[in-house]
Structure formats: structure tokens, C-alpha cells
């Protein structure tokens, strides 16, 4: 005959209190796990999803504006034929004094990939760079496209950049952005020199005609 277990009478009570303690720890664990998952989700949203949404809206806005300008151009031109290529002369320079937030151009960079067209807007504050319409900011005080000097622009790494004061006879474009991707530790700077220009009446340049067509104009 086995001896009666002296602990047995107390066992239910002890189990219950142990269970309650496990329950509290379990819920705390669940809350912590949930918080961890939420933080990871937030980072994913911020780095990837939010950028994707913003990029799509910016390129849509650029396409819309480009199409609007093309339509206005057609309307004002009437039946007048586009000028011949030999008669373009020096690049036309837009001398309008733009205020912060005014958009004056649309930029196409085929090498940046599909739908990389962006509005170019005066100013380099967060109101421009983080805008869901703009995205490329023009450094105030730097030259305008086509003007001798430096057409300087800034953008996030989902967009383009200018500055070369040692070459005052060229028409330079400088693009600044952040490096590495998702970090602000460094700046990345790219230069370009104006190669050719043509009036909007003559349609998009051959180099980007396919993109303007495909991405919307």
C-alpha cells in the first residue's frame, strides 16, 4: 500500500497560484512579442512601403503636370509647325522669379528606372523633398536649366542633383542625395553638362521620348 502523499491536500491550491503567475507572465510575454512585431512592422512601413507610395504619387504627379503642359502647348501653338532643329540657338532660360514650392520643370532620368520622372520645384526644404507631389528641389540662388552656371537640385534616394563652380562656362547640373540608402551619414553628388536642348514645341528629346510616352506625358 503506498503511503499517502502529504503534499496532496495542498496541491490544488499551489497549482492554482502557479497557474495565475504563469498567466501574468504569459500575457506580459505576449504584449512584449506583439510590441516587437509592431516595431518591425513600423520600420518596414517607413523604409519600404511609405517610400513606395510616395514614389508612385510623385511620378504620377509629374506625369500629370507634363501632360498638362503638353496640352497647353498644343493649344497655344495652334497650327504653327515646330521650329526646325537648326534654329534653336542658345538654350532658352526661364527667368521667372519662382517662390518656394513653385514647380517649373519635370525631370526624366531613364537610368534611374521606370517611372523616375519627378517635378522640379523651387526650394530644398522638407515641404518640397517630402512632398507627395514634388520630390526634386532646386537650390535657391543657383542657376536655372540652360543658364550658364550650375543648376543645383536635391532629392531623396528615390529621385536626382548639381554644383561645379570651377567650370563657369558650362551649363552644369548637380544632383545631391543621401548615401548610403536609408541613411543620412553621407552625401552623394552627381554632375552633368548640358548637351543639347530643344523647345517644348518640338516634343520630348529622342533620348527620353520612349519614357515620356510610356510613363505618361
Amino acid at each position: 500500500m503506498p503511503e499517502p502523499d502529504p503534499v496532496t491536500p495542498h496541491a490544488p491550491e499551489r497549482t492554482r497560484s502557479l497557474r495565475r503567475r504563469v498567466g501574468v507572465v504569459g500575457v506580459l510575454g505576449e504584449i512584449l512579442l506583439t510590441a516587437g512585431a509592431l516595431i518591425l512592422l513600423f520600420l518596414g512601413w517607413q523604409l519600404w512601403w511609405n517610400d513606395a507610395i510616395m514614389a508612385a504619387q510623385q511620378s504620377d504627379a509629374a506625369s500629370g503636370l507634363s501632360a498638362e503642359w503638353a496640352e497647353e502647348g498644343r493649344a497655344s501653338r495652334g497650327d504653327e509647325p515646330a521650329p526646325a532643329a537648326e534654329s534653336y540657338g542658345d538654350p532658352a532660360v526661364d527667368t521667372t522669379p519662382y517662390d518656394n514650392g513653385d514647380t517649373f520643370a519635370v525631370m526624366y532620368v531613364p537610368r534611374f528606372g521606370e517611372d523616375s520622372q519627378r517635378q522640379v520645384t523651387e526650394g530644398i526644404g522638407l515641404d518640397v523633398l517630402n512632398s507627395f507631389e514634388a520630390g526634386v528641389g532646386h537650390y535657391p540662388g543657383t542657376q536655372m536649366p540652360g543658364e550658364v552656371g550650375n543648376f543645383a537640385i536635391a532629392a531623396h534616394r528615390s529621385a536626382p542633383v548639381p554644383h561645379r563652380p570651377d567650370l563657369p562656362t558650362d551649363r552644369i547640373v548637380t544632383l545631391t542625395s543621401c548615401n548610403p540608402l536609408y541613411s543620412t551619414a553621407e552625401r552623394i553628388i552627381a554632375y552633368g553638362v548640358l548637351e543639347s536642348w530643344q523647345p517644348a514645341l518640338a516634343g520630348p528629346p529622342a533620348e527620353i521620348a520612349a519614357q515620356v510616352e510610356a510613363w505618361g506625358a
Binding site: V22, G23, E30, L41, W45, W49, L129, N130
Partner: protein, 57 residues
């Protein structure tokens, strides 16, 4: 099964066989993620993380 558990309670609160509960759980999770992405995260972003990447200085 002993102990108190939020997710255990959620599981027990749902009706139907296991596959119905799994589908329900997925639907709830999708709804929660949608709400987080659409409303909660943009709000949190504005509070804790003004993207400090300005080039004005």
C-alpha cells in the same frame, strides 16, 4: 491548457472549426495591418520621427 493568454482567449472566442478560425485570424490580421499602415503609422511618424534629412544648413 492552463494559464491566461490574450491570443488563447482570442482563439477560444472565435466560432467554428479550425480552418474557419484560421481564415478569421488572417482577416483580422489584415485589417489590423491596414489600419496601422493607413492611420497609426503616419500619426506615429509625425510625432517621433520628423525625417531629419534636410539639406538646408
Amino acid at each position: 491548457m492552463g494559464g491566461v493568454s490574450m491570443y488563447g482567449a482570442l482563439w477560444r472566442a472565435m466560432p467554428g472549426p479550425v480552418w474557419v478560425r484560421i481564415i478569421l485570424l488572417l482577416a483580422i490580421a489584415a485589417g489590423v495591418v491596414y489600419a496601422l499602415f493607413t492611420w497609426v503609422f503616419p500619426w506615429v511618424d509625425g510625432i517621433i520621427n520628423p525625417r531629419d534629412v534636410t539639406v538646408e544648413q
